[in-house]
Structure formats: C-alpha cells, structure tokens
C-alpha cells in the first residue's frame, strides 16, 4: 500500500464511541491497542479498512475499531472475508478470530482460505479456551486440561495451529503475543506487507478462564529460556544471556550450549522461505513441562509468494473480455438458435 493518504489519522481516531466490554485485565485490550497503534503507520485509507470477525470474546474486536466492520457468525469470518475480498480486491481486509472460532467451528473455512490465498490478514487470538461461553476447553487446549466441560481433564488431543496452517499451504505464518507490544506490532506490519493470506497466531491471556496459559513465555523468570525469537538470516539463539543455540542434526533440532564450547557457526540460520525448516519450527511445540523440551518460537516462521485468488479471478475476467469482447446482454438473451413467429 504505497498510496499516500491525504489526511492521516491517529491511533486515537481508530477508537470508537462504544464501551470496550472485555473483562478487566484481558489480553484482548493490549492487542486492540497495538492494532490501533500500528494501523495508522501502514498508509491505508481508513475507509478502505474492514475488520471481519466471527463470534467469541475476541470477535467483539470490530466494534472497537473506527473502520468498517462486521461481527458475523461463529466460525465464518474467513468465508465472509473471502467473498468481500473477491468482490472488492482493493480493500484492506482483516479477520479477527479466536481459537474456537477459527480452529473448531470455522476449521474448514480456515484451511480453505489459506490454500486460496486471498490477500487478507488473519489475527487468531489464541487463549486456548472458549472465553465467551465461559470456559470450556477448545481445540487448542492441552491434553488433560481441566475445564467446566472436562472436569476429569480433556481427552482431546489439541491442534498445533501453525502446523495445521502450514499443512494447508499458508503463504505466511507467524506467532506473537499480547504481552510483547513491540513484537506484536512488528509482526502485524510484516503480515500487512505480505501479499496473500497472513496467518498471525497471537497468544492471548484469558485471565478469567485460563489465566497464565502463556506465563512461561511472558514471565521474566522463564521468558528467556522458553522463547525463541526468530529473525531472518540470524542463528537460532535463546536463553538467559543468549547462551543457548539450536542446531540441526539431520532433521533433528538439538539444543547446544554456547557457553560450553558449542560453535555459533554451526547453528541453524533462520530462513523464512524454507518450507521444510518452517515445518520443523512449527513442531517446536513440546509441552514445556517435559525434560529437554525445545523453546517456543515467535516471529515469522514462513513466507512464500503465491498468486492471490482475487487477482486470478480478476485476471480471468480481463482475459475473457479481451478475448471475446465485453459481454453483450442482448446477444446472451437471444442465444444461438431463434425463430420468428409473424
């Protein structure tokens, strides 16, 4: 979006006059704030912005954005956004969805929008719980999770959302979190810059029904050891004092100790365009309680250039017009075989 806008707007001007109704302390507030902060920097006309959501706490998001918005029905935001984008390719379309909305009821539409690669941005607020319906486990909840609907622990094996998206041939996948505003904004910018469906998983704390689900990634004590921030062209380094690294032994990632003689030059260098490595990274998904587990990656895992559905659709129309001329309704009405009654 290089077009300059006559009258830039501020983050403040993206706020609506509606009271924000999330629970106090909910991670959604921080995401809203960062979105409002980053959007004015993107150079998109305000009237060209559309936020489409499904149903869930997270899906209330459009009501708080002074842009065009639709709070639709559970799981279907991706489908609705597809049609909107097909009809109006010039709009900047953002989908806001939850882990239940996107991965459970809307799972089918999610995989299909990814393969079709409409140029839209998906913000998946993952709190690993059904917030709005007051705390049942979701397809992202971990095994054994105790919730209102799983008093003896959930027996559902969870989805690994980014691995799922990669499997659906997503052209951009990234992970960030509500409690790291700078990183969140950077990732949002990258998502917007990517032409194609940008899938951004945002770890979001639901302090009412699943408080602390991601604390190990945000808490000062544990953050360094448990998180791995991906940077293009840089080695995979993490840990307190950046002393740990990851190298590949064949296809097996292993943690090495840089303080104890491991060579930095042997480390895995992050390459966002490497599909195979992105697959491995998406599998850095161990239960953090297991011994010797890998850190959880954040940042852009993978990006690829592939044609967008809406462009191909428009192109077929253009080609068809240049080949057969603009449709003539009278000819169509008449068809090829007629007879006259005098």
């Amino acid at each position: 979006m290089s077009e300059t806008i006559e009258k830039p707007y501020t983050a403040k001007e993206l706020e609506t006059d509606q009271d924000v109704r999330w629970c106090p302390g909910c991670g959604d507030y921080s995401i809203l704030k960062q979105v409002q902060k980053v959007i004015p920097e993107l150079g998109i006309k305000r009237e060209d912005l559309v936020f489409v959501s499904g149903i869930g706490c997270s899906s209330r998001f459009p009501y708080y954005m002074e842009t065009f918005g639709m709070h639709s029905i559970h799981g279907r935001a991706t489908a609705i956004a597809s049609g909107l984008k097909a009809a109006r390719p010039e709009l900047s379309v953002w989908i806001v969805t939850g882990d239940g909305d996107a991965l459970s009821i809307g799972g089918n539409h999610l995989i299909h929008i990814l393969r079709k690669n409409f140029n839209v941005n998906i913000l998946l607020f993952n709190n690993q719980i059904y917030g709005l319906t007051k705390g049942q486990y979701s397809p992202a909840s971990e095994e054994g999770k105790i919730t209102k609907s799983s008093p003896m622990g959930s027996i559902d094996h969870p989805f690994n959302p980014l691995a799922l998206c990669l499997g659906a041939d997503a052209t951009f996948i990234a992970r960030t979190m509500d409690r790291d505003p700078n990183h969140l904004r950077d990732v949002l910018k990258r998502a917007n810059d990517h032409k194609g469906t940008s899938m951004v998983e945002i770890y979001q704390n639901c302090n009412v029904f699943n408080d602390g689900a991601f604390f190990i990634y945000t808490d000062k004590e544990t953050k360094a050891a448990e998180t791995l921030f991906l940077e293009q062209g840089k080695p995979l380094i993490f840990g307190e004092g950046k002393t740990k690294g990851i190298k590949l032994d064949g296809f097996k990632p292993i943690i090495v100790d840089l303080a104890n003689g491991a060579a930095a030059s042997d480390l895995w260098i992050h390459d966002e365009t490497d599909r195979v490595k992105a697959g491995l990274l998406s599998r850095f998904f161990d239960n953090p309680k297991t011994e010797g587990h890998l850190p959880r990656p954040f940042g852009v895992f993978y990006t690829e250039t592939r044609y967008c559905y809406e462009d191909a659709l428009v192109e077929q129309i253009t080609n068809s017009i240049s080949k057969s001329g603009k449709g003539d309704l009278d000819k169509l009405l008449k068809g090829s075989n007629t007879w006259k009654i005098a």
């Binding site: 912005l49 065009f68 029905i73 489908a79 049609g83 089918n108 057969s324 006259k340």
Partner: protein, 616 residues
C-alpha cells in the same frame, strides 16, 4: 415405395434407455430442431440419481419426454404417443406411459436374454415376441447392428461405434416427424471439431437413421406437426436453470452491480454455476466455495462490499445456510438465495422434483427472521422471477428466496426473449460519502418503506460496524434493550410486509373471479393446473385457477380472491405446505391435494380432482 404424411396437432414422445445411451442428448437435439421449426413445446427429462447406474437395469433407465404441438401447450404431456426404447428395462419402466394405440420403437439388440433378465422379465419371456404389446404399433429396429454396419469402415473401435447409436435413433425420429437434419449436423460439427473421425461417424449414423426411415418398407407413415400460433415475436428454446442464469446476468446489468455467485455444487442447481462461470466477460464472479456455509458467507461478504450477491443450492444446502440467512436478515443487506428444490428430506430423491421447501424458506431459521419468497412457474419464467428476486433484494435491502425445482430447472419451453432495453432498471441506493463536519452516519436510518441505505466499505466517512447482535434502530449500535428488540423485530417484519405495496396484485389466471371452486397453485404445477382447468372450463365446470408467485409477502388482494369461492383446492408436490400458510393467514378451509412421488402432476390428475369435487 410410397409414404404418406399424416398431419397431427400434438405429439408426446418419450425417449428411454440406459443413462449411458445418450438419451438426454437425443431428446435435447430433437427438441432444438422442433423449437426452430416453430412448434410450441414442453420437455421433461427424468434421470436416475447415479451417473452410470448398472447398464440394462430398471434403476438405470433415463428418460426424456417431449411434447410438441401446433397449439399452445402447458405441460410435457400426461401420456405419450411415441415411446422410443433402447432396451427391455426402458420398455418395462415406461410402458404404462404409452397411450393405447401408441407407437413403440424398440432397439431389438436391447432385448437379448441378458437385457431381458436385467429388466426382470421372467425367463423365456420377450415382450416383443409374445403379443403382449398388441394394443400398440411396434416397430423393431436393430439399431446396434445397423450402426455397426454403417461404421464398419470407419476404423473406429466397437465402443466408439456403439456410442453413436443414439444418432441413428435421432435420425430416424427426425425422418418420422418430417424434420431436417441441418441443426443436428451443425451441432455435431461444433461439438466434435477437434475429433473429425468422431464427427464424421456421428453424422454418418444420423443420416443412416434418417435414410432408414425413407427406405425401410415397414414405415409407411410420417407425421407432420405444423407451426404453433404463438404470440408474435422472436423465440428461442430455454431450460429453467439457463433462464435463471441469464436472468441474474440481466439483473446485474440493469442494476449496474457486479454479480457475485457463491455456491457449492448440488443437483439440480449446479447447472446455473456451470452456465454463469462461462460469462466471465460479463464481469460475473463465480465462487465455488468449500461448503454451503462458506458459499453463503462469501456471498454475504460480497454483498456487504456492494456486489449483487447470489447464493444457490437445493434443500440440503439451504438447510446449512440457515444461520447465515439470519445474519443477512440482521445486517439488512441484499441477498438472493436460489433453491432448486428436489425430493427431500435429507438426500431424498436428488434427481427428482418436489416443492417441499416452501415452509423451510418461510420459517426455517432461528428467531424472527422474515425473508421474501418468490417462485417461478415455468422454465422461461425463471428468468423473470430471478430478475424480480434481485430487484426486491437490492431495492428493499433484504434476503429474497427464489424457488424453482428440478422439473423447471431441466425442463424447457419456447421463450419470447426480451430486449435489454425493455427490462426494468434496478435501483440500488448507496449511502453517500460523508465529510468530517457532516452529522454522524446513521447506518440503520430508514426511508418510508423502512429500507436502510447500502453503506459500502471504501466510502469516505461511512465507517461503521454491523453484526448479528441485536442493534439499536438508526445508530446500529449493539442494544440489549427489551423495547428496542421488540421494535426491531417488528420493523424487520414490516419492512418485508411493505414489499406487498410494490408487487402486482394477484390475478385469476383462468376462469371467473367468483365461483364454486378455485385451484390455487404455486411454482412448477402451473402447466398441469392450467391445462386441467382449461379443459374443465370447456366442459362447463365452474372452476378458476390462481397461481401465486409472491409467497411472502402475499399480494394484498389474495384474501379477497380466496373468499370469493365456495371451495379452494391447493395442489402441491409436497405433503401440504402452501395450504397450511393460506389456512393460517386467511382462515379459509383450503383443501390440500398432494402428490409426493418425485414426479409432476399430470393434467388428468388435477382435472379428475376438479370433476370429483364439483360432482359431489
């Protein structure tokens, strides 16, 4: 050898054979030639659910019925004059359709012991040989053998040769009804441009069939059906789904909107998708979604963006769309929902016709979710009706159901097609861009008809949010206020009711305005009711016919019309749906008359009902 030509007014011919025999193609080609000649006509293709059902079996029989006439006609005929059967199963399945004294043209190769067995004739029984067909004129032709003979030097394999069999039959029938082969030859030439051997083989077989009629001693009579005296003008032949597709393109053009068609394939609706996806140079955007929910979801998105949003399916798919239709009701955006009905419930009878989704269209959603419902009554009428559905959706910012069914979708008739300039224009009212100093935008502010403006993304100053949660009137803000909710439910209902002010009054199609008996129909029963009522009136019965196109809201004078008759009978291809609505709304003791066999009513069935009722 001398041949005589018999002039006749009205012929019904039924082609029947394996679904792999090319029956539908034979029927369609003969229909096109007949149409070009200038007869009035009506067709009824009837196929099995399986694409290639086991060969030779009763389940695998595919049929194509065509009635053509020098008079105006309304149905594809109750019984047929000529039955063309490619095998024993086709004869067994359709013999009861043949009039006494009718002609049977049988492909003898399809009556070998194997085929007789598959058709479940007892061992040793061959209907062609046992005098059981005495009541009919039977002509046996070994089509298979003659086709082989004709193509023996073509260098084609047995399978390919066998596939041209239907052309032999077509050629023969063209001869029998005094029609020329030009149109068919043109068709074959176009279709097989890229495979000249096949093109030549088909033309050769076609001609062989034609000349066989000329030279064979057994056939001494040809038939001639003169042109029909239809209303003056230029005509083409058209099928219901084709008419619907063209109607959508026309509505897009006359509204200045881009047509967006979001759908998921299902019989018998898919042909509209096939047709529209060829019209890319009209700017039509077709979208084959992953399921029906995504189909309607994408359509709602497109409509929110300012396109003419149309989604289509048949009953099972419409069931899946229910929640999203409710969303469109709440959003108050234009949306056309096409339902090409088929036998239900569940998968039901996918290739057979039924009218059993009327109540689903009217009521099949959660909450108070009124939608407009209109139904086409003939194949050509699908054009006008779908156009009208688009007009109402756009001008009243509401979801509109367009109901058709398998019988209309695949049936065909001559159509006096309109010119673009004679089509009404459709006026979309968009909200205008707003300047900063202008008053705040009110997305749910309404005009006197209670219609809001279409406020599409990309319009400066109109940023606003819509959604499925109850909203405050005028501002569109979320509101859980009890009084507001009641007000909004009533407002949305009234908005739909107000449409009654813009639609034509109900007409009596045939018969007096007041009398003993009124037959009230809707949708595809039109032709059979029309034919039956016309006959009954000629015979002196006091009966009238009204056919309802606008099923929600009803025309304003409908109640009055119903009250003007002693009795009201409602024939429907369902277990009684419109009849329930009429009883509910007008408190009339309307009588249901139902047929739920996946087959249209015959005119005789309705006529008998009329006679029986009036004789009591």
């Amino acid at each position: 050898m001398s041949k005589t030509t018999e002039i006749t007014k009205d012929v019904t011919i039924l082609f029947a054979g394996d679904s792999g025999d090319g029956i539908q193609l034979t029927g369609t080609q003969f229909t096109n030639t007949t149409a070009l000649f200038g007869n009035d006509l009506s067709t009824f293709p009837n196929f099995p659910a399986e694409i290639r059902a086991p060969q030779g079996t009763l389940a695998g029989v595919s049929g194509f019925q065509l009635r053509f006439s020098s008079n105006e006609i309304y149905t594809p005929g109750d019984a047929c004059d000529v039955l063309v059967v490619m095998n024993a199963a086709a004869l067994k399945a359709n013999l009861k359709q043949l009039k006494t004294g009718g002609i049977i043209i049988a492909n003898t190769d399809g009556f070998d012991p194997k085929n007789l067995g598959l058709a479940k004739y007892p061992a040793g029984v061959n209907p062609l040989k046992d005098n059981s067909l005495e009541k009919y004129k039977v002509h046996e032709i070994d089509v298979t053998k003659m086709t082989k003979e004709c193509l023996k030097d073509s260098g084609l394999g047995i399978k390919e040769i066998d596939r041209t069999k239907n052309m032999f039959v077509l050629g023969f029938i063209l001869w029998m009804f005094n029609r020329d082969m030009d149109n068919t030859i043109k068709y074959i030439t176009d279709k097989f441009k890229k495979v000249p051997e096949i093109m030549e083989a088909n033309i050769k077989t076609l001609k062989a069939g034609y000349h066989f009629g000329d030279t064979s001693e057994t056939f001494t009579t040809r038939f001639q059906v003169e042109k029909a005296q239809l209303e003056k003008g230029e005509y083409r032949n058209i099928m219901g789904n084709q008419a619907a597709a063209i109607g959508l393109v026309a509505a897009a053009e006359r509204s200045g909107l881009t047509l967006f068609y979001g759908t998921y394939p299902i019989t018998p609706a898919s042909d509209i998708l096939h047709e529209l996806s060829r019209y890319k140079n009209f700017g039509v955007k077709t979208f084959q979604a992953e399921d029906e929910i995504a189909a309607i979801g994408s359509t709602i998105g497109a409509s929110f963006g300012g396109a003419l949003g149309v989604t289509a399916s048949s009953g099972p798919g419409i069931a899946l769309k229910g929640e999203a239709i409710g969303l469109a009701v709440m959003l108050e955006i234009p949306l056309v929902i096409i339902n090409i009905q088929r036998g239900g419930p569940s998968t039901g009878l996918p290739t057979k016709t039924e009218q059993s989704d009327l109540l689903q269209s009217l009521y099949g959603r959660n909450g108070e979710a009124p939608a407009v419902v209109i139904a086409a009554y003939s194949p050509a009428d699908c054009f006008n009706t779908v156009f009208e559905a688009c007009r109402i959706a756009v001008e009243h910012m509401t979801p509109v159901f367009f109901l058709s069914d398998g019988y209309l979708a695949n049936g065909s008739e001559p159509w006096k097609f309109p010119a673009t300039k004679d089509l009404p224009s459709i006026k979309a009212v968009f909200a205008e861009p707003r300047k900063d100093e202008d008053p705040k935008f009110m997305p749910y502010k309404r005009d006197e008809k209670l219609v809001r403006k279409w406020a599409i993304p990309g319009t400066k100053g109109l940023e606003h949010r819509v959604g499925g949660i109850e909203k405050e009137d005028i501002t569109g803000n979320i509101s859980y206020d009890p009084d507001n909710h009641e007000h909004m439910v009533k407002t949305r209902a009234q908005k739909v009711e107000n449409i009654a002010d813009t639609i034509p009054l109900q007409q009596i199609d045939n018969g007096k305005e007041k009398g003993k008996l009124l037959i009230v129909g809707w949708g595809s029963t039109y032709g059979s009711i029309k034919a039956a009522v016309r006959e009954a009136i000629e015979e002196g019965y006091d009966v009238s016919h009204a056919h309802i196109k606008y099923l929600n809201p009803f025309p304003k004078n409908l109640g009055e019309i119903l009250y003007n008759f002693d009795k009201v009978i409602v024939p429907e291809m369902n277990n009684g749906q419109l009849v329930k609505v009429l009883r509910d709304k007008y408190m009339v003791p309307a009588i249901p008359f139902n047929k739920i066999k996946g087959m249209p009513f015959s005119a005789a069935e309705i006529k008998n009902k009329i006679v029986e009722t009036l004789k009591k």
